[in-house]
């Protein structure tokens, strides 16, 4: 029988050693009471069970603040346990007699294979306060998570210095199948439709596959709860910067054997504004819809999901420089080269994407605490990119990527104390260039097939949990591309690999937990890293197999087969430790990690080379041995029941330790503080909450040296491929930002007003590729209003 534990932290107030806590445990969705739930006060012998009406009371407590552990055995149905009872099923209502305020925090049950890895989840409420932001930006408030961007619309999450296809994005149980290369391709995921998003900060490759070398981001849609009365949630929003507006609607219902949800959203924004000027061509338009249906039959669950998103994202006009004079001008100019009045129009350069995801999932609880799961998924990603060029209305990149994903998982019954999951996975991608771009394909056509098997097991003994896992992958790639003279090149290569993870969690005391995890991971170089050749945006890039280094001189005359090259897959070893302690209103989280990556692949400027337009800046992909070492620290302080603060600090040191050089585009040190005032009931509002968040991002002190493009163009500096790494511009100065937010609820209405960059500070973000050309966004006021309707009774 599955035991579900949820930790709630409640605070009661009364006389010394005469405190009492009482409450009511309810199903959060149906508001029906949950009887027979075990309520235990952490650190004491005191415990009780809830009565028929879900009520409980515990007297004689010596401390004003208590951690309550609520255990519900097979709550959803005592004979058929399944995962419908996720944390949002429960909530605690307070009895005002002895309890002034109750704060509830629920801990998400961690995915098997990641239990010993530091992770954080953001929930629906946080997502709803700014539903039009990107996935990466929604997560960037978390310590150790930042984002790399190409302007305001394209943002990729970075976990501990790694991004792109070192971070696996699991969308609705499937690896998001998209053009995951470069900093200008963000995952096409509608954040507004997500129910929660979890960031796994360690190497989670054993559980999720090779791309989780640096971590994983798990986006989950509506959990399709059973016995859930009809609900509807309507959200709207407006933001001043970009004059953006959005709306989203979700409806859903769960009966005894059926559940469904459906949602849709629309968002549009015009040109954004830096403090002093409009960022011409930075608008976006996004449409999304999704639905899911669950059929529950005895021990069986059948689930289907479909989601679709359509995006049209503008990229900054001033970022296009296809000649040396325009690149030098763009880099040296204080203001972008193109500044036009505000417009909603999206012109070139821009990218349009349609992403379809269809999934079928079958779960069979064939015995107690044992489950078989089969997931089959198909994703179609259609991407067109438009550049400023002679035939601007013809896409310069036109790709269709078809992804198949099959997973069979067996959660075995407890066996000699072992709790575990075994899985088989088949993953296949087929990428095709659509003809008619009138340029040599930047990315070749390819087929990737991967067969994998994994096992993860955990063992509880006393206050300790051990977790271990191993995975086997076999991957083949078949690549067909064109050289610039339109000759066809072909390559076939395959890899076989084992990865492992070993972790340990120890409950040090009632208030302190220590977790440690050592994970290995590997990753095959992606198609851009190997085969890219040509100009895209302001960059001309050569993939690892497209150039040869002849005594410091670059030769691009032929494509080298992978087997004949010295290109190797990346191998990572990540050691991550998390210490958490909670005492007297103080909670400290400290995460310390080191990550060694053999054959780390990254792109960097290599110099300028002659073209008919003049000497152009060029980038190559390079492979080095890299070390990442860092720490995230987070301190939450509760002064009173209504006033609390959170201080966060993230530090990362990274370097190419093979050559003792710095890397490029690594997150700088950042620190932030958030002060929250929870007013509770005030005026006619049911709740009112204020937060003020100052943050400071330091200048990246580890940036490589600067070599200006003009010194390369006029020949005063000459470089070879052996020269020390450099950048075309200095790392931007550190900057201070201030955000202010107020959220309230009144009956079924929830609203939020947020001011981002309240002081309208002009700054450039080192991790934004547009930092060469323009300032980041100025002040933005975001207004959101959500109306939640929930039917009282469940008419099934």
């Amino acid at each position: 029988m599955m035991l579900v534990c949820y930790h709630f932290f409640g605070f009661a107030q009364n006389q010394p050693c005469n405190y009492s806590v009482s409450g009511n445990v309810l199903n959060a969705d149906t508001e029906e009471p949950i009887p027979d739930a075990v309520v235990k006060v952490s650190g004491t012998e005191k415990q009780t069970t809830t009565d028929e009406n879900g009520n409980f009371k515990i007297d004689g407590l010596c401390s004003k603040k208590n951690t309550l552990i609520i255990s519900c055995i097979g709550y959803a149905d005592s004979t058929r346990d399944h995962e419908h009872d996720s944390e949002i099923h429960f909530y605690l209502t307070q009895e005002v007699t002895s309890l002034k305020e109750v704060t509830i925090e629920a801990q998400r049950t961690k995915e098997k294979g990641t239990e010993t890895i530091s992770q954080v989840t953001i929930g629906k409420a946080e997502i709803a306060s700014n539903p039009t932001q990107s996935l990466a930006s929604a997560l960037s408030g978390l310590e150790g998570v930042t984002f790399s961007s190409t302007g305001a619309n394209v943002q990729l999450p970075i976990i501990h210095g790694l991004y792109g296809n070192r971070i696996l994005i699991l969308n609705n149980g499937l690896k998001h199948g998209f053009q995951n290369w470069g900093t200008d391709h963000a995952p096409e995921i509608d954040v507004a439709s997500a129910n929660n998003i979890t960031v796994v900060k360690g190497a989670a490759g054993v559980r999720y596959g090779p791309e989780a070398l640096g971590g994983a981001i798990i986006v989950e849609p509506s959990p399709l709860l059973l016995n859930n009365p009809f609900y509807a949630a309507l959200g709207t929003g407006y933001q001043t910067n970009g004059r953006g507006y959005n709306a989203n609607l979700e409806v859903g219902q769960g009966t005894e054997n059926w559940s469904y949800f459906a949602n849709g959203s629309y968002a549009r924004s015009g040109d954004r504004k830096a403090p002093d000027y409009y960022l011409t061509n930075s608008g976006k338009e996004e449409k999304a819809l999704s639905f899911g249906v669950l059929r529950h039959l005895n021990q069986w669950d059948f689930k289907i999901n479909y989601s679709f998103i359509d995006q049209n994202l503008a990229l900054l006009r001033s970022s296009i420089a296809n000649s040396p004079d325009s690149f030098i001008r763009a880099i040296n100019s204080d203001e972008p080269v193109f500044i036009n009045p505000f417009s909603y129009d999206i012109n070139q350069p821009n990218q349009t994407t349609q992403h379809h995801l269809a999934k079928a999932e079958v779960n069979w609880w064939y015995a107690e605490n044992a489950r078989l799961t089969f997931i089959g998924g198909i994703q179609l990603n259609k991407r067109d990119e438009f550049d400023v060029r002679r035939n601007a209305d013809i896409p310069i990149i036109d790709l269709d990527l078809l992804t198949y994903d099959y997973q069979l998982e067996w959660k075995h019954p407890k066996w000699h104390g072992l709790d575990g999951l075994l899985g088989l996975q088949y993953f296949s991608q087929n990428n095709d260039n659509n003809p008619g771009t009138q340029t040599t394909p930047f990315i070749p056509n390819y087929n990737t097939d991967r067969f994998s098997a994994f096992v993860v097991e955990s063992l509880d003994f006393g206050k300790n949990t051990m977790e271990a896992g191993i995975r086997f992958d076999f991957e083949t790639n078949d690549v067909r591309g064109r050289e610039t003279n339109q000759d066809i090149f072909r390559d076939n290569y395959s890899f076989t690999n084992f990865t492992g993870t070993l972790g340990y969690v120890r409950q040090l005391s009632e208030n302190s937990t220590f977790r440690t995890n050592l994970g290995t991971a590997w990753r095959t170089p992606n198609m851009e890293e190997l085969f890219s050749f040509g100009q895209h945006g302001f960059k001309t890039t050569f993939g690892l197999l497209r150039f040869q280094d002849n005594d410091g001189q670059l030769s691009t005359s032929e494509v080298i087969p992978l087997d004949e090259s010295d290109v190797d897959p990346e191998r990572g070893y990540k050691f991550i430790n998390e210490f958490m302690t909670r005492k007297n209103g103080n909670t400290h989280h400290l995460t310390v990690y080191s990550h060694y990556i053999e054959n780390y692949i990254y792109d960097r400027p290599i110099g300028v080379f002659g073209t008919i337009r003049g000497p152009m800046p060029a980038f190559i992909f390079d492979q080095v041995d890299a070390l990442f070492f860092g720490a995230d620290y987070n301190w939450e302080k509760e002064w009173t029941n209504s006033l609390s603060g959170t201080f966060g600090l993230s530090f990362l040191w990274s370097g190419n330790i093979g050559d003792n050089d710095p890397l490029i585009n690594q997150p700088p040190i950042s620190t932030n503080f958030e002060l929250q005032l929870n007013q509770g009931k005030v005026w006619w509002f049911d709740s009112s909450r204020w937060s003020i968040r100052p943050s400071y991002t330091f200048r990246q002190f580890q940036a490589p040296r600067t070599v200006t493009p003009e010194s390369l163009v006029d020949g005063s500096v000459t470089l070879t491929t052996d020269s020390e790494i450099f950048d075309f511009a200095d790392a931007p100065d550190g900057y201070f930002l201030l955000d202010l937010s107020w959220s309230f609820s009144w009956k079924n209405l929830h609203g939020n007003i947020t001011a981002q960059n309240l002081l309208n500070t002009g700054y450039r973000d080192y991790l934004n590729e547009m930092r060469y050309f323009a300032d980041d966004l100025g002040r933005n006021l975001i207004f959101t209003l959500n109306y939640n309707f929930k039917s009282r009774n469940n008419n099934e």
């Binding site: 021990q299 296009i320 420089a321 296809n322 000649s323 040396p324 004079d325 325009s326 001008r329 079958v362 069979w364 064939y366 078989l372 089969f374 089959g376 400023v388 060029r389 002679r390 035939n391 601007a392 198949y404 099959y406 069979l408 296949s428 087929n430 095709d432 260039n433 003809p435 008619g436 771009t437 009138q438 340029t439 040599t440 394909p441 070749p444 056509n445 087929n447 097939d449 078949d478 067909r480 064109r482 610039t484 003279n485 339109q486 072909r490 050749f533 100009q535 001309t540 050569f542 150039f547 670059l554 691009t556 005359s557 080379f609 002659g610 073209t611 008919i612 337009r613 003049g614 060029a618």
Partner: protein, 206 residues
């Protein structure tokens, strides 16, 4: 009995899984289709034709044989003109990446004449007409454009140059083709829009 039913249920799903797996294994192995590369320019030839003697032609070429590859641009010739002569300057602009399918980019430019303009700079007073040092620094400086776009703005696929009686050795002649989609007007200059090519030749007049 119930167990057997469930097993059947499961077997059906396993079968479905295998069927779909087999279908998706059928890979294609097509290469991307051949593309006509319209963006890249590999060869530019300046053709000065004596207006009073069509057989008197001076050519000067520059080429970048691998386009976006790392191989450098090579300026092959110097421009050597005669004294006191009027020339018409025209261009051969090619993409010869694919030797079997050489593209004439000059035709492209003519088709999109309202998005393109040639600009010039040269050693001060090298020519009797136009005088000065060309219009790259100041767009309104004199150049004798022999053509115009649909909006009546200068294009520059054909220009007229008259040498004087002063000889010149080792001078400079730069020609820059700008691409100015949606922004070309009568006053746009050599800094506006994007550069399609920018080539400097040695200029001799003897």
């Amino acid at each position: 009995m119930k167990m057997i039913e469930q097993f059947r249920n499961f077997r059906w799903i396993a079968l479905l899984f295998m069927a779909i797996a087999v279908v998706s294994c059928s890979d294609d192995d097509e290469a991307p289709e051949e593309e006509d590369e319209l963006e890249v320019i590999t060869d530019v030839t300046l053709i000065f034709t004596n207006t009073s003697d069509a057989s008197d032609v001076v050519r000067a070429s520059a080429e970048d044989p691998d386009g976006l590859g790392a191989q450098s641009l090579v300026v092959l010739d110097a421009i050597t003109l005669s004294l006191d002569t009027e020339y018409t300057l025209t261009f051969d602009i090619l993409n010869a990446l694919d030797e079997d399918d050489i593209e004439d980019i000059g035709e492209e430019i003519e088709d999109e004449d309202d998005e393109h303009q040639f600009f010039f700079s040269f050693t001060e007073d090298a020519f009797a007409d136009p005088s000065g040092d060309g219009n790259i620094d100041t767009a309104s400086d004199p150049i004798n454009y022999g053509d115009e776009d649909d909006n009546g703005n200068p294009l520059g696929l054909s220009t007229t140059w008259t040498t004087g009686s002063d000889a010149l050795a080792g001078g400079n002649f730069t020609v820059r083709l700008k691409h100015q989609p949606d922004i070309k007007t009568s006053t746009t200059g050599a800094e506006d829009g994007e550069t399609d090519f920018n080539l400097s030749f040695v200029l001799n007049i003897q």
